[in-house]
Amino acid sequence: MDVLIPVMAAAVRSGTPILYATLGEILTERSGVQNLGLEGLMLMGAFSGFSVTYSTGDPWLGVLTAFFVGVAISAVHAFLSVSVGANQVVSGLAVTMFGTGASSLLGRKMIGLTVKGFGKVPVPLLSEIPVAGPVLFDHDPLVYISYGLVLFLLWFIFRTRQGLNLRAVGESPVVVDAMGLSAARLRYLYTMIGGGMAAVGGAYLSLAYTKMWGEGMSAGRGWIAVALVIFAVWHPARAVLGAYLFGGVGAMQLRIQAAGTSFPAPIMMMMPYLFTILVLLVISVKKGKGILIDAPGALGVPYSREERT
């Protein structure tokens, strides 16, 4: 057990950035928009968060900046997918390419620098609990915020009027429109907020996880988050499970490598990605067997009122 506690704690830590991105994408996709730009958004978040923290010394300002950078970039995606009705896959890929390119270009001078970033803040009392304490309550503030975010989203999506609108617009925008709400406004809103959350996930990497900036440092976590949304069946609670599972696989392979094994390191590093493919495979097989995988009905389909077929 004592060996497992640090691994589980590490799983939470390395799962947190994926969790932010997954929760963000759940909001976006529940509104009916698919944003494949998560990887680019995470990189832009990591870079912008780092550079603001480096120049001001305040990591909170960094996180805030990352959030708004994410909001701004996804606004472009929202414009293309909602107002123009463009192909959302293409637009999302463009966001990823933009984010990858722009962050590496702008971040060149930042390579090798470090920031103080977020440190561990054990929660009084709670962190004393055996097992759960060190695993869950001995982390930096961004981890605690992600706990709160999950609870908030569960309540928001399933218990509030706004959440009902969100669920409805992703399922049947025409109904939302006929009931006198604006489908476009809802989709803009949640695409932008979702993008902001993905960028915060990126900022976690550069401000809390490594405390430095590295080109392409999200290393595919954005894509893993895209897959996790499906694994989570668009449900925030299952997103937690998925994110920590993936974080755990990542943390485990680092530890096994560190312990020294003859197993080739590159293959160990492939583990999280192989795991992603495996999970998608299992889900697809299940789907074929008649188990409902409830993707929002209008996911990826642009809506325009007077369009006639």
């Binding site: 218990r159 509030t160 009027r161 706004q162 009902l164 609108n165 669920r167 409805a168 399922e171 049947s172 025409v174 109904v175 939302v176 429109d177 006929a178 009931m179 006198g180 709400l181 789907k287 067997k289 008649g290 188990i291 409902l292 409830d294 009905g297 009122r305 007077e306 006639r308 077929t309």
Partner: protein, 530 residues
């Protein structure tokens, strides 16, 4: 009914609406009084739904005025229309399938700012149910409800918003006769409370039954507004179509032959993995039309897809002329002489972006006479054949090289028939073959199906129009929830009432043998066999 000096509830004047080149409404006027049911009558494509979508704010009129309760209104969005007291029950009900009844009712209400007050919504829904005699479980998710129940939810939704003007777009097309009667009771209650109801339909019997006034539209224009007591079914039909209409259809008696299509214990799953056809068996014989009646969405589509070989069967057997085809490729079905006229002629039936020749070629291109050296398509021969077929089936077209999407609905269906029926098929499966067609195209399709039957094919006809089933079929099978409810051997011996019960899920054996009075109200010309 219409007294002078009173302000009408709704007054629409000179409504114009054009969709890319197609004039859907031109200069349409319509008034609605308090306490009246005003029917909009017209063929498909006459502009009824467009006019009502304008009144409900979903479309914006190009020009024209709308006055509600004496007050000129500009309805820019559904929100404006809801505020003006207009509630519309659309043909596709505008419900979110994954949400529950009460959640759908709550959607877009602005009386509660942030929290969902489930208790209050459910209580108010209960009140409405009592007052109007509508029954549905508020906790059930929409996808679990039958089409009839979904319609009731849609009606509750508009009543919850205390709509003063209720628009019902073709509400009876998805109901059993019993459900239709219940709906009419609700409509009369709404009317008695002094609200106005606009009822859209093209079924004349119903229109005569429920309306106070009728406005007839044809090709986007208003033909007349009349009081129901001043007209007959025949005169309405003439106004609607623009010429005299023959209701009768010539049908000769035939002696059915061997079984050509035999299905046993078929199990088929739908697109979302649920079992949609549940151990279903049927036989179609030569020289007969087997009608398959049922409320739409009870597995008819999946069953026919499976019988035509384009959907996988999970269990069971499909035999054509005694040859087992279940699990075989689609082309095996086609080579055995199975023709398919699917419900969505644009999605499954034809490729509207391809030209007429190519659409005809789709089912024939591999055949020897249409290839060169068995490798290349022989376009000259295909073009020749297409020319003949277009002539024989009188498909009005701008040219064989034009994309099929340029054809009107009726001509698209004729093209579809031309492709599927020209090779003297053994089995013809036709799903909703006259859906959305005008009167003359409908007649053409029905006569073509009868021709196929007389020629010796076995025809399986699926329709949710009970009248169509009763007038064309030699025998009738009824499907409910993917199960066979029974087979009526003699359509004249069954009442519409009994059909309705079966369509709602009662097995044929469950009620006493029909008295055989044949009180169907069907005009049918049957010549006895020699």
């Amino acid at each position: 009914m219409v007294s002078a000096g009173r302000v009408p509830l709704v007054s629409m004047r000179g409504i114009e609406k054009t969709f890319v080149g197609v004039k859907a409404n031109s200069g349409v006027d319509m008034d609605l009084e308090r306490g009246e049911v005003h029917t909009l009558l017209g063929e498909n494509g006459a502009g009824k739904s467009t006019l009502m979508n304008i009144l409900s704010g979903l479309y914006t009129a190009d020009s024209g005025a709308i006055v509600i309760n004496g007050e000129p209104r500009i309805l820019r969005s559904p929100r404006d229309a809801i505020r003006a007291g207009i509630g519309m029950v659309h043909q596709h009900f505008m419900l979110v399938p994954t949400l529950s009844v009460w959640e759908n009712v709550s959607l877009g209400l602005d009386d509660q700012p942030f929290f969902l007050d489930k208790g209050r919504v459910i209580e108010k829904v209960g009140d409405i149910q009592k007052r109007y005699g509508i029954n549905v479980d508020p906790m059930a998710p929409i996808w679990q409800l039958s089409i009839g129940e979904q319609q009731r939810v849609a009606i509750i939704k508009t009543l919850y918003r205390s709509a003063d003007i209720l628009i019902l777009d073709e509400p009876t097309s998805v109901l059993t006769p019993q459900e239709t009667r219940a709906l009419f009771r609700t409509i009369r209650q709404i009317k008695a409370e002094g609200h106005g109801v606009i009822f859209i339909s093209h079924k004349l019997d119903e229109v005569m039954d429920i309306s106070d006034r009728i406005t007839v539209l044809r090709k986007g224009r208003k033909v007349a507004s009349v009081n129901v007591k001043d007209v007959t079914k025949e005169s309405l039909a003439e106004m609607m179509v623009g010429r005299k209409v023959v209701f009768q259809i010539g049908k000769t008696l035939q002696n059915p032959g061997r079984v050509v299509l035999e299905a046993r214990e078929l199990v088929v799953r739908g697109d979302r993995g649920r079992v949609r056809v549940d151990h279903f068996s049927l036989d179609v014989r030569q020289r007969e039309i087997l009608g398959l009646a049922g409320v739409s969405g009870n597995g008819q589509g999946e069953l026919c897809d499976a019988l035509a070989g384009i959907r996988k069967t999970e269990k069971g057997s499909i035999k054509v002329d005694g040859c087992e085809l279940a699990g075989r490729r689609t082309r095996e079905f086609q080579k055995r002489g199975v023709s398919y006229i699917p419900a969505d002629r644009i999605g499954t039936g034809l490729v509207t972006g391809m030209n007429l020749r190519e659409n005809i070629a789709l089912r024939k291109y591999w055949r020897k006479e249409f290839t060169r050296f068995r490798l290349f398509i022989h376009w000259e021969n295909i073009a020749g054949r297409t020319g003949q077929l277009v002539e024989r089936y009188s498909v009005v077209n701008p040219g064989l090289g034009f994309p099929a999407r340029m054809l009107s609905g009726g001509n698209l269906q004729k093209l579809m028939l031309a492709r599927e029926l020209s090779d003297d098929p053994r089995v013809v499966i036709a799903v909703q073959p006259t859906w959305g067609l005008d009167v003359s195209a409908t007649l053409f399709v029905r006569e073509t199906l009868l021709e196929q039957r007389d020629r010796g094919a076995g025809v399986l006809l699926v329709s949710d129009d009970l009248e169509e089933i009763l007038s064309l079929s030699d025998r009738i099978a009824v499907i409910h929830n993917g199960r066979l409810m029974g087979i009526v051997e003699d359509p004249d011996s069954v009442t519409e009432e009994q059909m309705g019960l079966m369509m709602a899920g009662t097995c044929l054996e469950e009620f006493s043998p029909p008295s055989g009075d044949g009180s169907l109200g069907q005009e049918k010309e049957v010549t006895p066999s020699p």
